[in-house]
């Protein structure tokens, strides 16, 4: 059925003039033109025009509906899952690094929580790598980048294990191994993951563009056939003085139902699609980068406190990462963008919480720098200080706030995309085709009956 309707609407249709000539010849209705003035002649012509109009609008409409449904399904079932996988991969990698480096701040025995978090994040990253690899399909660049990360991740974890082993023995070389691991992560693995993430976000944008096109041709053809049907009924009423022609009424009904279905679906589905796009965009363009910036800032801070990096160079990096996260008290940076992209009050409230946590984290960092006397080890204490209310460090509170905002937007996305791809939307193509056939049959039957009266 779908295929049939698609054939009708092959883009390279011959010009309508030639089609009419061909139809005349095939149907041997040449003589109709000679008796154009007779009522049967007019009826025949009307029938042909109606059938063609209805089938054309149905075909074009079914095709457009099919494209729309496919793109929606593509977003919901393929592109967004892959996009979510690479986004999570990116975040997990950064989180693993932030977690293991901050664990070193506690001394030679890393706290159980940071070790567990590191293990979890590496496991998560490995799982996402596998899934993303399986979904990459024929996208060579994506497959290539995934292979890159897959090759580098064991080198990273190997360096981390050496770092942990040496640190357990109280040897400062552990911290240097940690810096080497972190450098591999920050300067090679994470940029690759970022490239992957950007690529998937761009594919998602493309898919949304494909859902956004309004089927002008289908709507125009629909309007023309509706007008034709009404005109035919008025014409028959004048000639026959019968109010209802059941066939034509049924045809009109079918076209009207189709039009209504189209309009309602178009409006509602477009709304949900737009909503899902905004939620997805706020994660990929703002909250995701915010998470990464925060995690990278944490890793930078830890390495500087551990004496593994030149403190001034690390401070510059930290400041740059915090500017990416939120500048001007949260008016700019990724969190400022996230606030602008948030679509509802709850989303904005979550971003606002994250902004205030970011400010709190930065203040804790500054405070650690300015503590006196004792210098660095007090800065370590400040970086590890737990909040009495939550039992979390300032950084963990920021991380949780960001995670909450991301989770909210992701759930909102999933709700919207689910609503946008419900059955009555995805079956619009079949429905349109069926309605068009019904309308065509109605037009033929209705006009034939009148024609028979002239035999």
């Amino acid at each position: 059925m779908q295929q049939l309707s698609q054939q009708v609407t092959e883009p390279r249709l011959p010009p309508p003039g030639r089609v009419l000539k061909w139809l005349r010849r095939r149907l041997r209705i040449d003589r109709m033109t000679t008796d154009w003035d007779t009522t049967p002649g007019k009826l025949r012509l009307t029938m042909v025009v109606l059938v063609l109009g209805v089938l054309l609008s149905g075909g074009v409409g079914a095709y457009a509906a099919n494209v729309h449904a496919e793109a929606t399904r593509d977003i919901a079932e393929r592109i967004e899952p892959l996009n979510a996988d690479v986004t999570t991969l990116y975040r997990s990698l950064a989180a693993a690094d932030a977690s293991v480096t901050s664990g070193f701040l506690s001394g030679s025995l890393e706290p159980r929580e940071t070790r567990a978090r590191y293990d979890d994040e590496i496991a998560e990253a490995t799982a996402r790598l596998g899934r993303a690899g399986a979904q990459a399909g024929e996208d060579v660049v994506t497959a290539d980048r995934i292979a890159d990360i897959t090759a580098q991740l064991p080198v990273y974890t190997g360096l981390v294990e050496r770092a942990l082993g040496n640190n357990r023995q109280g040897l400062p070389i552990g911290v240097v191994y940690l810096r080497h691991a972190s450098e591999l992560m920050q300067s090679s693995i994470l940029p690759t993951a970022e490239e992957l993430q950007r690529r998937q976000a761009a594919r998602l944008d493309d898919a949304y563009e494909r859902t956004g096109s309004v089927p002008v041709v289908a709507l125009a053809a629909c309007a023309v056939s509706l007008a034709g049907l009404i005109w035919a009924q008025l014409f028959l009423f004048q000639r026959t003085h019968r109010v209802f022609n059941i066939g034509l009424v049924a045809a009109t009904g079918a076209v009207l139902v189709g039009l209504l279905w189209w309009t309602v679906t178009g409006v509602i589905s477009a709304g949900y699609l737009q909503g899902s796009r905004e939620h997805s965009r706020s994660v990929s363009k703002a909250l995701g980068p915010a998470q990464i910036a925060a995690l990278q800032a944490r890793a930078t801070e830890s390495l500087a406190l551990l004496g593994a990096r030149d403190v001034n160079a690390a401070d510059d990096d930290f400041a740059a990462q915090m500017l990416l996260l939120a500048r001007d008290e949260g008016a700019g940076g990724a969190l400022g963008a996230a606030w602008g992209l948030a679509t509802d009050r709850e989303g904005r409230a979550l971003v606002e919480t994250a902004i205030s946590e970011a400010v709190g984290y930065q203040e804790a960092h500054q405070e650690g720098r300015q503590l006196e006397p004792g210098g660095d080890h007090q800065a370590v204490d400040a970086a590890l200080r737990t909040d009495p209310a939550t039992g979390l460090t300032e950084f963990n509170r920021l991380d949780s706030a960001l995670t909450a905002a991301v989770t909210y937007e992701r759930e909102a996305f999933r709700d919207d995309i689910e609503r946008a791809s419900r059955g009555w939307v995805t079956r619009l193509d079949v429905g349109t085709g069926a309605l068009a056939l019904t309308a065509a049959a109605g037009a033929i039957l209705g006009v034939r009956r009148r024609l028979e009266e002239y035999r």
Binding site: G107, I173, Y177, G307, D310, N312, A313
Partner: protein
């Protein structure tokens, strides 16, 4: 070795004879430059290398400013002095090297920095405040340490830094607090006994260091590899990325202590006088530091510090360096 040492001593003596003012006039770099020395180029002002002929050199390497007054009581710094400013701030800001075992490294149990250099910083804080804990450490790489002293971001720097003429153009140095010498660290059983045995092998030292310049200058030439810190060099050695580490024995001691499968081989082939670096605009602080350094040799703290950190790897106590002054 003894000949080399004698040559080195001769070089030092010759330098002392040349006088005090020569240093400024002969320096190649602009005194106000904060840019770190390019790492790949040999420092033309390095004269402490005993592998090269002692030249009629150029600057007073080891003569510092003589302590003038007896050390004031802690907490009673002379008003208007640099030390009074530090006392008012409440903490001494000290640049030290990135984590370097036995010299300046974080004790994972206590979270505190400790080591041979940290002892000096502690003694200085004690002399100012009567409290060795009143120190804020800034761990910086070598170019960063010198720049921090120049910009007065820190009060002083204790960072296993060899006194050279070029660096003297940037900062003022205290008297020599340790006489280090460059040696070679290799994996046990490598068969290498000195730098000459490392021709066209990869040899690591920290970026911007005099050690790296000497690796570069050596004939037959090894391939020099510059890393942010000497501990990075040990990482590279363990990962098989380099064949040897060559730097001052005091630093190699910290590396050998962390990896029993390595050993320090060959004789010292240079003398590296370590000094505390202080901003040129604070000569009173230089004199104060020199007085504290003299006192810690007299009361045996220098000796105890050596025994605590370096003796296990570097052998029996050497005699502490004799303080030398230019005025």
């Amino acid at each position: 070795m003894s000949i080399r040492f004698a040559l080195a001593s001769f070089a030092v003596a010759a330098v002392l004879l040349v006088g005090t003012a020569a240093c400024q006039s002969s320096d190649h770099s602009a005194p106000t430059s904060t840019a770190p020395a390019p790492e790949a180029l040999p420092d033309p002002s390095v004269v402490s290398s005993a592998t090269s002929e002692p030249t009629a050199s150029t600057c007073n390497l080891v003569g510092s400013l003589r302590p003038q007054d007896p050390l004031p009581e802690p907490g009673r710094m002379r008003p208007g002095s640099t030390m009074a400013g530090i006392a008012e701030r409440g903490r001494l800001v000290v640049a030290v090297g990135l984590d370097t075992y036995l010299i300046s490294s974080r004790n994972p149990q206590t979270g505190q920095l400790e080591g041979f250099d940290i002892d000096i910083a502690g003694d200085l804080a004690e002399a100012i405040f009567g409290d060795r804990e009143r120190v804020e450490y800034r761990q910086l790489d070598l170019p960063g340490r010198l720049a921090a002293v120049e910009s007065r971001e820190v009060d002083l720097m204790v960072g296993t830094t060899t006194i050279t003429c070029r660096r003297q153009a940037q900062v003022e140095f205290s008297t020599v607090y340790y006489q280090a010498g460059q040696r070679v660290l290799v994996n046990r059983g490598s068969g290498v006994t000195d730098l000459d045995g490392l021709a066209s092998k990869r040899v690591c030292a920290s970026r911007g260091s005099t050690s790296l310049q000497k690796v570069l200058a050596n004939q037959p030439g090894p391939v020099p590899v510059g890393e942010p810190s000497v501990t990075d060099c040990l990482v590279m050695l363990q990962l098989g990325e380099v064949d040897a580490v060559s730097t001052d024995d005091a630093l190699l001691a910290g590396l050998a202590a962390q990896d029993p499968r390595t050993e320090i081989v060959g004789p010292r082939f240079s003398t590296e006088p370590y000094g505390v670096a202080i901003n040129k605009a604070a000569p009173d602080l230089v004199r104060f530091v020199n007085a504290v350094l003299e006192r810690r040799v007299e009361d045996g703290r220098w000796q105890k510090s050596y025994q605590d950190w370096l003796m296990r790897e570097l052998g029996p106590l050497p005699s502490p360096p004799e303080p030398q002054y230019r005025d």
